[in-house]
Amino acid sequence: MGNEDSSEGRSSGDLTRRDLLKLTAAAGGTWFAEGLLPEPALSAMAQAADATQAPLKVLLRVNGVEHRLMLDPRTTLLDALREQLHLKGSKKGCGLGQCGACTVLLDGKRVKSCLSLAALVEGREITTIEGLAQGDELHPLQTAFIERDAFQCGYCTSGQIMAGVACITEGHAGSAQEIRDWMSGNLCRCGAYDHIVAAIQDAAKATSSQRGG
């Protein structure tokens, strides 16, 4: 996490890196020992040891499947999805709730997964972009994004689609202006907004005609 670089996040402490690896391995952690974490993160974990902070057992229900995890209490839902469950469709943009790339559904409602601690959404139904299609059949909004070419780099796309699905089911896709207002929590730095709005309008029509039929 970029924020670990903050000078206030660093603490030398008395633990050596070797001590820390022993300690975390004993605590049941495996992801610490992969050599992937930068020094500031290791320092943060040394602090964790000082605070006698134990990993928490957390039950996450994601796309209809239950997962039992041991998590550092600081783990956000987004990081649990990406780093523990390897569901990397949800993207980490800002990590502060400003960009919307991490949008998932929680009990059917759209949320920013970077602003929820994983341990505090235990047992609730989480739907990610990976859970949207029915087998090989894409969700109508996924199809509409392809047909409307509603992305360039694609980084914001899964968040846009999850927010767009919610926007339609909430009944906030009545006009282009309404869509723009209710999609304002999702930024697209490529500027594909016109195409995103068109895709949501297409999918909203498809959904309502399905209902009508």
Partner: protein, 332 residues
């Protein structure tokens, strides 16, 4: 994030006991409910609690409306309150303020209690790269005074802090005479919303009158203004998903083209949600003519003091009051 022990208490009494310990040692505890502000503060090392106490599932989330008024459980989300039929019909100012806040995702997560207790967006408070912030690090100074202060307050400031209280909801609620029900280790009490937040004075790090361990359990709104015409005008740097530069919450009791009573509060300009009773008094009995509204709104500037970049807010907030009244008065 700084490491913390995460407590997930089974009942509110246990949570309050954890919270009460916080005030008695130097290892602070913080509550977390919806988390939309707290997780940002943790991620940015603005708050570094050793213990985080979850209120998830422990607080009332019901929304009740009756002849006495409105009661919003503290755990009700912004989205739930904004879409509630009684709020929309009888207290639309609240819904309007909420729908002009944050993003749809955050409104599904953030709670009523947390919204009132969210921390300022002053960039110097939010960025620990700046050493001086009396609100974050008491006694360290204020980087906004003499710094970039376009977003900062012109009302209720001190020489220690000029940070704006960022909530739109609180501005609407303070205009409607709302109160908060507070629960703590010592029991329950009611605090008028206008008295919940403190002026910064010489201790800007103490933002409310809540004692250690106390939480907001509910918000109550008396029925006196139910059905009045109202408008929440939010002036901001983009059309959606942005905090207010200036906001005006207005509720009017109209008798034809004449104002019987008015309620007016300002956002984006005060160190706390800012009610302007002197404007309300001047509006009582006034017509909706622009000259009458302008002279009443001019009183909003009493005691206002700019800090350079934010000088424009003093005139803008007066114009916002006039515009909000005109829009409220024109509602069919």
């Amino acid at each position: 994030m700084h490491p913390f022990v995460l407590e997930r208490p089974k009942d509110l009494a246990s949570a309050l006991a954890f919270g009460a310990q916080a005030g008695r040692n130097d290892a602070p505890a913080e509550y977390i409910a919806g988390g939309t502000d707290m997780v940002q503060l943790l991620q940015e090392y603005v708050r570094k609690p050793n213990r985080l106490v979850s209120l998830a599932g422990l607080l009332d989330r019901r929304i009740d409306a009756g002849p006495q008024g409105l009661r919003l459980g503290a755990a009700a989300t912004m989205a739930e309150v904004a879409a509630h039929s009684a709020v929309l019909q009888r207290y639309p100012l609240i819904s309007e303020a909420l729908l002009n806040s944050a993003s749809p995702q955050v409104r599904n997560q953030a709670t009523m209690g947390g919204n009132l207790l969210q921390r300022t967006r002053c960039p110097y408070f939010r960025d620990v790269g700046y050493a001086a912030c009396n609100k974050r690090a008491p006694g360290s100074g204020c980087s906004a005074i003499g710094g970039e202060n376009r977003w900062n307050a012109v009302l209720g400031t001190s020489d220690q802090c000029i940070a704006v209280h960022p909530s739109d909801l609180a501005v609407a609620l303070v205009a409607l005479d709302a109160a908060v029900e507070v629960r703590g280790p010592q029991g329950q009490r009611t605090v008028p919303l206008d008295q919940l937040h403190r002026l910064p004075a010489d201790s800007p790090h103490i933002e409310t009158v809540l004692e250690p361990g106390e939480v907001i359990a509910a918000i109550t709104v008396p029925s006196a203004t139910a059905g009045w015409r109202s408008h929440y005008l939010k002036v901001r740097d983009r059309a959606s998903f942005e905090f207010a530069v200036v906001a005006a919450a207005v509720a009017l009791d109209l008798d034809g083209g004449r104002i019987r009573q008015a309620r007016v509060a300002l956002g984006g300009v005060g160190t706390k949600p800012w009610r302007v009773p002197q404007v309300e008094s001047a509006l009582a009995g006034a017509t909706l003519e622009p000259a009458a509204l302008g002279s009443a709104a001019a009183l909003a500037g009493q005691g206002a003091r700019g800090h350079g970049h934010n000088d424009f807010k003093i005139e803008l907030m007066q114009r916002a009051v006039v515009r909000a009244i005109e829009i409220a008065g024109a509602h069919a």
